[in-house]
């Protein structure tokens, strides 16, 4: 009876220690972390229809590196988590000889930090999201429309852009 007790305890320890040794020090991809701003492009002449962008280069105003998108009507770009606004220069048809057309958009928001877990740390969600064009004259963007004022995931489209 005593032997059985010892074996029982030992096997319980082994089983449970394996269960508890599951790795949780690497941030899993399935965890929703800081979301990007999701923008969907529409045809200004036919606002019901998506319109793919052609060689669109997006660059934060203070940075040299660009994010490139082509043949897609939906893009996702990061917002600064340590500021309350991010300004992006949108350069469409950047591969053309003229260098394409440029517009600057200003995104403003408040940030909310949320604890995720020990591996991922914290994420930032954006609330009171607003977007505006920095110049009144129309280069290529005809209109923008904020769809979600709270950015807490990447499944929804937060901004519509008509051109």
């Amino acid at each position: 009876m005593k032997k059985g007790l010892v074996y029982g305890v030992i096997s319980a320890f082994l089983a449970l220690s394996m269960y508890s040794c599951e790795r949780d020090d690497i941030c899993a991809e399935a965890i929703a972390t800081t979301p990007k701003l999701v923008i969907e492009f529409f045809d200004a002449n036919n606002p019901e229809r998506n319109k793919n962008v052609n060689s669109l280069l997006v660059r934060e105003i203070e940075k040299d590196s660009t994010l490139g998108f082509t043949s897609t009507s939906t893009i996702a770009i990061p917002l600064k988590t340590n500021a309350i606004e991010t300004r992006y220069i949108f350069n469409i048809n950047s591969q053309s000889e003229s260098g394409g057309l440029i517009d600057t958009l200003n995104f403003s928001y408040a940030t909310v930090e949320t604890y995720l877990n020990r591996a991922c740390g914290y994420k930032v969600d954006f609330i009171d999201f607003r977007a505006r064009k920095e110049t009144d004259d129309i280069n290529w963007i005809k209109d923008i429309q904020v769809r979600e004022t709270t950015i807490d995931n990447e499944f929804e489209t937060h901004l519509y852009l008509f051109y």
Binding site: I10, A12, S17, I77, P78
Partner: protein, 248 residues
């Protein structure tokens, strides 16, 4: 009447004296007395005070850890020991996205049950035990990084230095271990621990990454694990004479 009592006392003492003498002649050592086909030996009962060596070792080897634990158990009956541990731990979780320091003390109380049948005169243990553990501690979240899935913007690291004090936790712990008499009244012991958190303080927008005594927590379960190696000293308080039949 008084005279009669005096005689009785005197005669009794004489008999006892000679009895003791013959007893002394037969015993070659202090602990063993062989009379006919049985062995009598003294089973020590007392307080066993121990020092955890694994925590001292880890304190030297691991710059993110400082810990000390003393343990004590009292032999209540032949196989049952009332046992407890008292300790203090400081542990720093220093990873890519979070740097957090936990500091606090703990106490564990419970019993150990010996399942090992010793050879005559030996005092070794193979035991299983249960404990109720309680910890009082504080956490200091030194810095954290905002997790992003791309690196277009440089890392946003927040040096917050936020303190969360007066945190408490309690848990039930299962132990299994052994303790071997090395010499005199000194013993070496090793045991493993498995625990289940009962209650732990909630922290707003953060978590308990480490609980002193419980050790590290897991995000999705209440289970914890641990171990210990210890050296201990038995302070004998009294002995019980145990009789065991001899086969030959």
């Amino acid at each position: 009447m008084n005279l009669k009592l005096t005689y009785t006392f005197f005669i009794s003492c004489t008999i006892l004296y000679f009895g003791m003498q013959s007893y002394a002649q037969e015993s070659s050592t202090d602990d063993y007395v062989q009379v006919s086909d049985s062995i009598f030996f003294k089973d020590k009962y007392g307080l066993n005070i121990g020092l955890d060596l694994s925590r001292i070792g880890q304190s030297f080897l691991d710059s993110d850890y400082q810990g000390l634990e003393i343990s004590a158990d009292y032999r209540y009956s032949e196989n049952l020991y009332i046992a407890g541990e008292l300790g203090n731990e400081t542990s720093t979780y220093n990873e890519e996205n979070i740097i957090n320091k936990t500091d606090g003390s703990y106490i564990k109380l419970g019993v150990n049950y010996n399942v090992y049948d010793n050879w005559i005169g030996m005092q070794n243990l193979i035991y299983i035990g249960v404990r109720y553990g309680f910890a009082n501690y504080s956490q200091n979240l030194q810095s954290y990084r905002i997790y992003t899935t791309d690196d277009y913007f440089p890392s946003d690291i927040r040096e917050v230095d936020a303190s969360f004090s007066n945190l408490t936790a309690s848990w039930i712990e299962l132990q299994a271990g052994l303790r071997v008499n090395i010499f005199g009244n000194f013993y070496l012991g090793a045991h493993v621990q498995l625990k289940n958190m009962i209650s732990v303080s909630e922290i707003n927008n953060f978590d308990n990454l480490y609980v002193p005594g419980f050790r590290r927590t897991f995000d999705n379960s209440n289970i914890g694990a641990g171990w210990g190696y210890s050296i201990s000293y038995l302070i004998p308080i009294y002995s019980k004479t145990k009789t065991q039949a001899v086969d030959n």
